[in-house]
């Protein structure tokens, strides 16, 4: 694990950890000052409401580090049982990883390789469709600091950062006084496009309420306008729920902007059309670069979901939903993605790392998961840990353990843990399981 030295000054009983990194959402704010007292974070300076809940609620607990079939067990027994489950399976699935550091993610991919299993991450039920769209048309994008320094037209589509990424506006997208937008918010126009008038819409200059499930039509309307194609006003209104003149006004602003930015969320990826929606948005962004500079970015959710995409990609060549059953990586969303393998009752064992499929998957997927032996790693008691054959209660990354996390714009950031946990971290647990798996399978890599 790469644990950078904790930069801290010790005042009796109170430890300050400066520039700690919050891993709750994809903003991965790395400017948090933590006050730690008696192995408890008492203050998380600069953290948002989600960040405060993250830092202040991950406290030491006296739950056992390992449960086998719901009964306390030693870690050694847990590792042994986990390795047996994974090596006995014919179709094992390893899933989750969006709240684990890259160092642990790498071990998880190794295990999937050795056992000939699937490695999949929560990307598949998050921005997986955006990943597929990117494979179709590419992506024009930038780091978040570019938005802060240059963005003068900021459009959020199907994304509600006021509730999902509370510091997005202040740190990256609307408020910062940047190099080429010296007056901050005053130099920017903010547009929100959504089916409901979210809390974020209140921060916008323009709110465009579109018809539910009409994102694809709305985006293609804009693509047509970008090309100067004439459209039937009546049809645009009935297709998108929005007057053509509103779209024309938006396109005029988009062309007039110096540096336009789309941030898009699960309003696109989770709604009918999915990757076709995001592909339309990525293609529109590309089109706009014939007129001005324009970029788009998915507002990624969990702390290190972007790291998971990166690690799985560099090790296998594919970003998620990777099957090793033939001894080498194959990729096919819908076939090798976890929710599908469970709903179709194909997987016969699983390891769920920092995720909660027993709460967030379809009923058919949950029922099958409950019927097969699986291992769960989580910092908290969840529906998934409760139904696991082996459950590891793990230390929290960024609070108890170090490592690396990728912000939603692929910028890797180190963690500065605040206090030790009696529980092992994901990296430790997965490494111990990998060692046993290798021994069982005669792997000596």
């Amino acid at each position: 694990m790469s644990a950078p030295a904790v930069q801290s000054e010790v005042i009796p009983e109170l430890k300050i950890v400066q520039d700690a990194t919050c891993t709750f959402c994809g903003c991965v704010c790395d400017d948090i000052d933590l006050s730690v007292k008696d192995n408890h974070i008492v203050e998380a300076k600069r953290a948002c409401v989600l960040g405060k809940a993250w830092f202040l609620n991950h406290t030491l607990d006296d739950r056992p580090s390992c449960l086998i079939d719901g009964r306390p067990a030693s870690l050694e027994e847990g590792y042994d049982r986990a390795a047996r489950i994974l090596t006995n399976g014919k179709y094992p699935v390893i899933y989750g990883l969006s709240d684990s550091p890259c160092e642990a993610q790498r071990v998880a991919v190794s295990i999937a390789d050795w056992i000939g299993g699937i490695i999949d991450t929560t990307t598949s039920v998050c921005h997986g469709p955006s990943g597929m769209a990117f494979q179709g048309v590419g992506e024009v994008t930038c780091s978040l600091g570019e938005v802060a320094n240059r963005g003068d037209l900021i459009i959020f589509w199907g994304s509600n950062p006021a509730e999902s990424h509370p510091r997005h506006f202040t740190r990256y997208s609307l408020m910062p006084k940047g190099m080429f937008v010296p007056n901050g918010r005053k130099d920017r126009t903010c547009v929100i496009i959504d089916v409901r008038k979210t809390k974020s819409a209140k921060a916008a200059d323009i709110f465009i309420p579109i018809k539910p499930r009409a994102d694809f039509e709305a985006l293609w309307t804009l693509r047509a306008l970008a090309r100067g194609i004439e459209l039937d006003a009546q049809q645009v209104l009935s297709d998108t729920g929005v007057e053509l003149s509103v779209w024309q006004d938006l396109m005029a602003r988009m062309k007039a902007a110096k540096f336009g930015v789309f941030f898009f969320g699960m309003g696109l990826t989770m709604t009918r059309g999915k990757h076709a929606n995001t592909e339309a948005l990525l293609a529109l962004t590309r089109d706009m670069n014939a007129h001005t500079r324009f970029v788009s970015k998915p507002n990624r959710g969990h702390g290190n979901v972007t790291g998971a995409d990166n690690v799985v990609s560099w090790r296998t060549g594919y970003p998620f939903g990777v099957n090793h059953a033939r001894g080498y990586p194959r990729f096919n969303p819908g076939e090798y993605t976890t929710t599908d393998t469970l709903a179709r009752r194909e997987a016969d064992c699983a390891m769920m790392i920092a995720c909660d499929p027993m709460a967030n998957f379809s009923q058919s997927a949950r029922e099958h998961l409950a019927s097969i032996p699986y291992i769960a790693l989580d910092t908290k008691d969840t529906p998934t840990t409760r139904a696991a054959a082996v459950a590891f209660n793990v230390a929290t990354y960024g609070i108890n353990t170090g490592g690396t996390v990728y912000r939603m714009d692929d910028v890797p950031i180190p963690l500065r843990p605040a206090f030790d946990s009696p529980h092992p971290g994901d990296f430790e647990v997965l490494t111990a399981i990998e060692d046993r798996v290798k021994k069982i399978l005669g792997i000596n890599a």
């Binding site: 409401v49 469709p129 089916v195 999915k274």
Partner: protein, 131 residues
């Protein structure tokens, strides 16, 4: 009396905080079973905050408690619920070859339940299968 709606599950800050506080804690549980409805629809259906309703999709059925959506957040015909255990019961296992279940924009029918018949037992029902 059943009515057709489109359901949008999504993130709320209370639900996000609830994840860190613990999924079995009251705050989180309350969040994921509170269904937001527009004031217009509430008036039309003559329902009030706290009433229990049953949502049924192609796939499943859940019982949740109504709250009024904050002023003008929701247009009529649209319902909102914090994404979680309950909303996902309405989602199909079919991802149409994408890996992603259709988790937003779900067609549901809504029935108003006789006052408070469900309440606590609904909470129990919703989590029982997880064990």
């Amino acid at each position: 009396m059943s009515q057709t709606f489109i359901l949008i599950p999504g993130r709320t800050s209370d639900q996000g905080c609830g994840i860190s506080e613990g999924k079995f804690q009251p705050k989180y549980q309350k969040q994921i079973q509170s269904l937001q409805m527009s004031p217009g629809d509430m008036q039309r259906l003559a329902v009030k905050e706290g009433d229990w309703v049953r949502l049924t999709s192609e796939t499943g059925s859940v019982e949740v408690q109504l709250v009024s959506a904050p002023k003008d957040e929701l247009p009529d015909g649209l319902l909102f619920i914090a994404y979680g255990d309950i909303s996902c019961r309405l989602m199909s296992g079919d991802t149409h070859g994408s890996g992603m279940p259709t988790s937003k924009g779900i067609d549901v029918t809504l029935e108003v339940l006789a006052s408070a018949i469900a309440n606590t037992s609904a909470i129990a029902n919703s989590t029982a299968k997880a064990d």
